[in-house]
Symmetry: C2
Subunit: 357 residues, 2 copies
């Protein structure tokens, strides 16, 4: 099948590489505004052919992925639907969906959004496994062709992702909470910290992981994020106001000096986090294990291999090296009670202390 | 010198191990409520002697570290000052300082707080290098003995930490912003996300790094954090209210639909983050490099060694493996413009693509 990719950055390039790995005899055609980037994509194997025009890119295509920036997508998709063959499924990868999906009444279009957060942009960072294990939202409407939806679904599975159908409104509200809101909070937090340091006339301490983690996405790429904030502004504003109200409640609880209420609030958060973890990392109850390990080559492999050999599935893992890089904290998420017990034993045998917070 | 450690968990145990490594002929005496934990501390080499009473622990001590939980510290410190020798410096490691320091009018006492965030508790996780490169706040008052302050300062340096003198009030306000507030935001965010999922009747997507990072500390250990929230409640409430006000402004900006204002706000956050990074990672301008690497044993070592050989100093580093662990993002912070250029070259030579966001 001929697959057209419009815009070959991190996501578009990864779609190309994933299609090459996962789809049957793909012929991948790239098109975009930047000839240099297209050339690089071809060097990297993300596209086979660089098209000279949109019409050429779409000629004979069975699928088209619109990978332009969010603000440019409505126009890009409209242009594609003008030129694409009648049996070509057209999709996009924009991180908001309502404004993109609502105006389109063409049966060939199914909106999409892979949750493949990468901290890096550009086709140089594209990889065939970027979507592996990631949710890939699809937003079909009652107008979407069933056959074309099925084709897109199969492709997403072939990329190693988990297709999840959701209506565009729900998608945008959900993403407002789990993605856009954390970005807002990070922005607000760095602004507040910068003010505090000025007021205290103090240097920032090496603040440790809580501040660094909470602000890693602060001031994310404006050329991407301004579009996202604008396109989803109503849902984001609602979430911000809900969170601001929660915060006022917390401030009142603190000022009232009621330790029991503070503890209950914190315990509820612990409970919410646990439930979110379980929901996030599907497959039943997921337990979190934290271990301290020396920061030397091969440690991750040693732990992964020991658990893998015993059939224990590491659902997810995160590393946090100490500042001097001599040691570090490793967090593992293990699915299932029995597997978690086994994981603790195995890690203990390797000589690394384990805490389950 | 005889060093008394009261409470041998992660921090107390690490003080013992760091003193053994860094101080001259230390004799480390441990005391606490839990005999089993004390025994474990002795096995691990964190203490030489387990004392049978507080008086025995303090007998002949030149320094005493009070490492009890924050809520128990005022009483623990008062008891110690009753029994400690006249030339013994007494300090604590509590993460709030005003409530602890203010009532004490004894020249032997100097409050302290090592910023050694660890995601794990318990003496099993104690390590000699826990404080290496970390800021260790000291809160001397006009009543504190100069000689004893100097002794404590030297010990903190011997532990590999960076002693920073600060008054207790400023400390608490600063920590309210850079540590306690991120915990509050994480708690609020998980509660909001849990509600959103219920309302949307949806499973949480594998949300990617922004949500996970922002909520890693949500619902942190209540037995520690209730004390912290209560002890610093005024400063935290002020910070919460300031942040809530900022958020209302952001919501209003979004609702007004002014893309220019949204972009300016985001750019200001980017600027704040840059300034905080520079302040945090002292030593001039620090640049952030993000690279994509295969997730195999030895990669961290390969990068570290290549940069080390060329004299490029990695100020800090963070790893984020992809869900399937086949690849990952590595973020490096490099001090200085020239070193950063050199680092980019060297990493390029290793074949890993680099992005500087």
């Amino acid at each position: 099948m001929r697959i057209a990719i419009l815009g070959v950055g991190l996501i578009g390039g990864s779609v190309g590489l994933a299609a090459r790995d996962g789809c049957e005899s793909p012929e991948i055609v790239g098109f975009g505004r930047n000839p240099e980037r297209l050339g690089r994509a071809r060097e990297l194997g993300a596209v086979d052919i660089v098209a000279g025009s949109l019409a050429e890119a779409l000629d004979g295509a069975g699928a088209c992925f619109c990978c332009g920036p969010v603000g440019a997508l409505p126009e890009q998709i409209a242009d594609v639907l003008e030129l694409a063959p009648a049996d070509c499924v057209v999709t996009d990868v924009g991180s908001i969906k309502r404004d993109i999906v609502e105006p389109i009444h063409d049966e060939r279009f199914v909106g999409g959004h892979p949750i493949a957060g990468a901290e890096t942009a550009g086709v140089e960072h594209a990889r065939a496994d970027l979507f592996r294990g990631a949710v890939w939202y699809l937003t079909p409407t009652e107008r979407s062709s069933g056959i074309l939806y099925e084709r897109l679904h199969r492709m997403v599975v072939a990329f190693g992702a988990l297709p999840v159908a959701i209506d565009a409104d729900s998608h945008d509200r959900l993403l407002a909470t789990v993605s856009h809101l954390p970005h807002v909070l990070a922005n607000v937090l760095v602004a507040q910290a910068a003010l505090a340091l000025t007021e205290e006339d103090s240097a920032l301490p090496r603040v440790g992981p809580s501040f660094r983690d909470a602000t890693r996405v602060a001031g994310a790429n404006s050329s991407i994020w301004t579009d996202i904030y604008m396109a989803n502004r109503e849902a984001i504003a609602e979430q911000i106001e809900a969170v601001a109200a929660r915060m006022s409640d917390v401030a009142a609880t603190l000022r009232a000096g009621d330790a029991g209420a503070v503890e209950s609030w914190n315990e509820e958060a612990a409970d919410c986090r646990r439930r979110l973890l379980e929901a996030d990392l599907a497959g039943g109850v997921v337990h979190e294990l934290r271990l301290t390990v020396p920061n030397r080559p091969g440690i991750v492999a040693q732990v992964a291999l020991a658990l893998g050999k015993a059939g224990v599935n590491i659902v997810d893992l995160a590393l946090a090296p100490a500042p001097d890089m001599r040691s570090g904290a490793m967090t593992l998420w293990i699915g299932g009670d029995e597997q978690t017990v086994r994981a603790r034993e195995l890690i203990g045998e390797l000589g690394f202390p384990v805490a389950a917070p």
